[in-house]
């Protein structure tokens, strides 16, 4: 049986299709590129903050928005355009469709964030304490955020605007409770409890460890949580997508 090679080929073809079709869609550009930049300007410009200290958190926020902006759009868009049914009739599994969508989010997230990082280096120097850990943070960060994007798309019917609103309802609160604008150590009571529940907290922490060498948790613990989040998000996305398969066909 040729199921395994077909599964992997399916992931690659779906990723290529998503990159060609969805990277330039207005909601992706708006919420994946412009929004995090506006957030940066709104919170950092003119406030005499130490950019070097806040850079890891800003990079984590950028990675979070870019990687999770492609996934929520794809399935509802395909259902609205009636291409989803044909997709299901191709020799593809639901796993290869979801993983292809996740991979498209990963490539978008890494690409944009890398450009932002390189561009930022021209203006101010941010020392990297552990380069290998930074690569790992990029990898696990984009995967977990792109998996969140796929999860946010899974309950969808055929309305991209509804899903984008829903995904922003989930994503916006996360950036305020994950140690991006307020360091985790300065949070009190419920704020800290909520921060522990956000996967973004562990990504910010891993970036802090990579750049400055200091972090609230052990980097290994951050990695373990992020890996668990990636697996959990993908499994739940698969479960919900199978359950909602017929909606919007």
């Amino acid at each position: 049986m040729m199921e395994v090679p077909l599964l992997f080929r399916g992931i690659v073809v779906i990723t290529g299709k998503d990159m060609r079709l969805y990277y330039t869609k207005p909601p992706v550009l708006m919420f994946g590129l412009l929004f995090p930049l506006f957030m940066f300007f709104a919170f950092f410009v003119g406030r005499h903050l130490d950019l070097v200290t806040f850079f890891p958190a800003f990079l984590a926020m950028m990675l979070f928005f870019t990687s999770s902006s492609v996934g929520p759009l794809i399935t509802p868009w395909e259902k609205r355009e009636k291409t989803y049914e044909r997709l299901l009739s191709y020799p593809l599994t639901i796993e290869s469709i979801i993983l292809g969508d996740v991979l498209a989010g990963v490539i978008f997230g890494i690409g944009i964030t890398f450009i932002v990082w390189v561009a930022s280096s021209f203006f101010f120097h941010v020392p990297v304490a552990y380069a290998a850990m930074l690569v790992l943070a990029f990898f696990l960060g984009t995967l977990s955020c792109a998996a969140l994007g796929a999860l946010l798309a899974s309950p969808a019917s055929d309305s991209p605007p509804n899903v984008m609103i829903f995904s922003n309802l989930v994503r916006f609160p996360l950036i305020f409770i994950s140690g991006i604008f307020v360091p985790l150590q300065e949070m009190q009571g419920w704020g800290q409890v909520l921060a522990y529940c956000s996967p973004l907290t562990y990504l910010v922490d891993l970036f802090n460890a990579s750049f400055s060498g200091s972090s609230a948790f052990s980097p290994i613990a951050d990695c373990v949580v992020l890996i668990a989040v990636i697996i959990g998000f993908i499994l739940v996305a698969r479960f919900i997508q199978v359950r909602n398969m017929i909606r919007g066909l």
Binding site: M1, M2, E3, L6, L7, R9, G10, V13, G16, K17, R20, L21, E81, K82, T83, E85, R86, L88, S89, Y90, P91, L92, T93, M245, I246, L249
Partner: protein, 305 residues
Amino acid sequence: MNIIQADHLKKSFGPVTAVDDVSLAVKEGEIFGFLGPNGAGKTTTIRMLTGVLTPDTGTVQINNIDIQRHPLDAKMQMGVIPESSTVYLDLSVEQNLQLSGKMYGMSRALREERITELLSRMGLQDRRRSPVRTLSKGLKQRVSVACAIIHCPRILFLDEPTSGLDVQSRRLVIDIIRHMNEQGSTIFLTTHNIEEANELCERVGIINKGKIVAQDSPVQLKKMFDTTQSVEVSFDHKVTRELFATAEITRIEPCGDRWRFYTNNPDHVVKYLAELAKAESLTITSITTSGPSLEEAFVQITECA
């Protein structure tokens, strides 16, 4: 050999049973028509046969491969044309075909060869680089058909492929179906167009309220109702339905400027119409009698069920 074998398929959506204990078998190289009124369960059945939906109970074998256990191997054998023209509107005609070829794992050289061949056969050479969004409905459907047959599938599933198409596109789609069948592909076709099924299909299955109510060749199905014949008549003046009143006519329907009467006794109806014309000072401009039609068989079967 049965290339499609479905046994006891059942699918419910909440309290509604869309397909209830459907079993069917399609032989290799056959053109099988799947007929039924709106909401009868045709699309749900075809979605289960193509692996898009998982049945609640029952099994589907595609070329002896269980589609639930080995969906990818089974799907490699088939091409599917869903009800609406499901192609990517933002991609060009060629890009859609390339994508479809990649989905089936075709090499670049083979894709190029097939794309050139299909664009020529579908009359789409001039629109090769046009975004599909800019094409008419008929041309979009041609792209959809081309995407489904790019890998020369052994089985082609078509869900209402000619619905809403112009005459040229409809003829082209039918020619493609015939051509694919001549090349050895098995065709599974759902349609509302009874004449199309009569013209194309070697066997038809009729589904109503989720159950298969008949499955045979069009000729055999028509024979089941060979007592029902029809008489078509036209007059030189417009007449109303109320004019016709005889117990021998079972059903009356207007057909353009003619009236069609279904009857078990055409001789009597012809005589009756002649007398009626004389009494009402009408001239009969044409009159024909016909044997049982597949449409009549379809109506009777679905009404009985």
